[in-house]
Point group: C2
Chain length 368, copies 2
């Protein structure tokens, strides 16, 4: 069912909102108290375009929590199970934020942008309040702020050509998950080779609204023959690619290990972070449930809450997000399933939200 | 411009979402990562109905942050500038949450529901993460959770008659901002005489989805001759009544004193809370800016971000929310204005977002 979104200052506009409305954005979601576009030409058309061309995404909602000061390194490490002890000042780190129970509170990219300054590029929870609370409680010497930084993602296979036209050949040398400053109109923008799709691209951390708008217009102009369009994180593309969404696929009831994020859970004895003992124990004993992919023999699905999954009248887990994939010609889902009921790559009959569906479980990301 | 809202599990549905969609909700906003209805028959019609009749509001978005344990009293007090030292277990307290700088992070109602347990009924920020951070940092003996509680507000002048029909005469003895448990179908629901309108009413803290839905249907059935309708917090009614909205009228850049919340800032030497020294100093020296009402000689306005206000080419503050009020036959606004430029109840010419407007400043709440 379609409903309108009611706007207010509480649901913040971005420096690019006027642009994307002029270009015909269809729908929004809200993320970090801010408008995030959700479709322009429909999710299927947007997906097809993204896979072939280049899109500009207004992802201002990726707010930066800036932690600055003598205790910044200590606080940044304390909040994440990722080992940041050797973090370099030109590399992005995917760093799940955890609590004292080892549960995930957010799954940001973090960047050490200066020797005493971190940017935590957050998913949809107020990490700033968590950081502030810990800093107050432990009396840390840090300053925690949300700077006026509004990321603009340039995504898709033609993003490389487009970015080269604006920033020069050198940008093509930027490695995946590396960042560096590049000039536009005399302003040095921090640019990372990153973004929430698997189609390649960059994220430009726009810290100047005015020059940011000039940059937006220049990207649209220079990209005309590359068929550049405004776009946004795409439900189909991200599920096909197995990109997890905090708040959908995982939330504060889950641990990183249950979400298959083992590579980002460090058990390095030299670092200290919250919930480490619990994650160490869970790692030793193994998880009792985890995220898997579901291939569903249906042509349509909409998930607006975690849906119960039954197998032979037993509750085995929840479906957390799903979409119809034109590429797979069936629906794909991401589900948290009890380990004892995980039977991979076999024909199964599941009951999802009360409806019988022929399905297969599979590892993530999906393979075609 | 009208845009659709994209739904997902991250933007949580409530136990009542299906009901309000069946009843024809038109638009939503998002609040605490959850759907909040914003209009049913248009904001003007909803407002007129609310002032005469009774409405059921799905305000599940008012999430409860539950703090339980030996250190719960200490933590609850530490986070708010309201004096909670004599809090009674049947009274609601409006208690601004503050940080170490005395800035407002949220403006909840808090209730001591058991000797060692508080409910913080939050506005739109993740207070749970703030409380968790402080508790971790100070190593406090508390358990902090978000229980499955979904408030249902019954608002409007006929709410008293409707609630009497369901819960009996005794509910009419409940005083403003008091709460008590009342039975429905054998389940004791916590009910407060409160709600985010000035039209009178109650908030039912629904902690059982199934019985909550029976209650919803029963309220709709028993209220038929009272012209009960589903409704929601109403932009016009709340501005006319001078009810402040966190995230719109105030945010983490403001102090409670700048927002006119002096009555909720305790300087009792016997209590300890964050930012107290700073608020004490600001109280002594006086604030340099504060919220005022604006009467605007225009017939239409939409505020989707804080809009700059100029007077004789000088920046004097920002307009934070506004609406056309049929009752005042002009637009009403809530603005943060420099003290030195506050000239009350005189004809002024202001420039708001670049547009010249004849206006008056006035104290809040608005008087007709």
């Amino acid at each position: 069912m379609n409903h309108f979104i009611a706007k207010s200052a509480r649901v913040r506009s971005t420096p690019f909102t006027q642009r994307i409305e002029d270009y015909g954005v269809q729908s929004y979601t809200v993320y970090n108290h801010m408008l995030l576009p959700a479709s322009f030409h429909g999710v299927v058309d947007d997906c097809n375009h993204l896979k072939k061309n280049v899109q500009l995404w207004d992802v201002s909602v990726e707010r930066q929590v800036q932690i600055k000061g003598p205790d910044a390194d200590f606080l940044a490490q304390l909040m994440t199970c990722r080992d940041l002890s050797h973090a370099k000042d030109h590399v992005c780190y995917y760093a799940p934020i955890v609590d004292e129970q080892g549960k995930i509170l957010n799954d940001p990219l973090v960047m050490k942008i200066q020797p005493d300054t971190w940017w935590i590029s957050i998913a949809d929870t107020d990490v700033l309040l968590y950081a502030k609370g810990i800093a107050i409680g432990k009396n840390l010497d840090v300053e925690i702020t949300e700077p006026n930084v509004n990321p603009l993602a340039v995504q898709g296979p033609k993003s490389f050509e487009l970015m080269k036209r604006i920033f020069g050949e050198e940008i093509l040398n930027l490695k995946f998950f590396h960042f560096k400053r590049f000039d536009f109109q005399g302003h040095p923008f921090l640019i990372a080779r990153s973004g929430w799709s698997k189609q390649g691209g960059f994220e430009i951390y726009v810290d100047n609204d005015e020059i940011g708008l000039l940059l937006y217009d220049q990207l649209m102009k220079e990209g005309k023959d590359l068929e550049v369009r405004p776009g946004c994180p795409n439900l189909i593309e991200r599920i096909e690619s197995g990109l997890l969404s905090y708040g959908n696929d995982m939330d504060m009831n889950d641990t990183p290990l249950e979400c298959g994020l083992d590579n980002f859970v460090s058990l390095n004895p030299d670092i200290e972070y919250l919930g480490k003992d619990i994650l160490q124990k869970q790692k030793n004993e193994g998880v009792s449930r985890s995220l898997v992919g579901l291939l569903l023999d249906i042509k349509e699905i909409s998930v607006t809450q975690h849906l119960p999954i039954m197998k032979e009248d037993r509750f085995i887990g929840t479906l957390r997000s799903a979409c119809f994939s034109p590429n797979f010609n069936q629906c794909l889902g991401i589900a948290m399933i009890d380990k004892s009921h995980q039977i991979l790559d076999q024909d199964l009959s599941l009951e999802i939200n009360g409806k019988k569906i022929s399905a297969k479980m599979t590892n993530l990301p999906f393979q075609k």
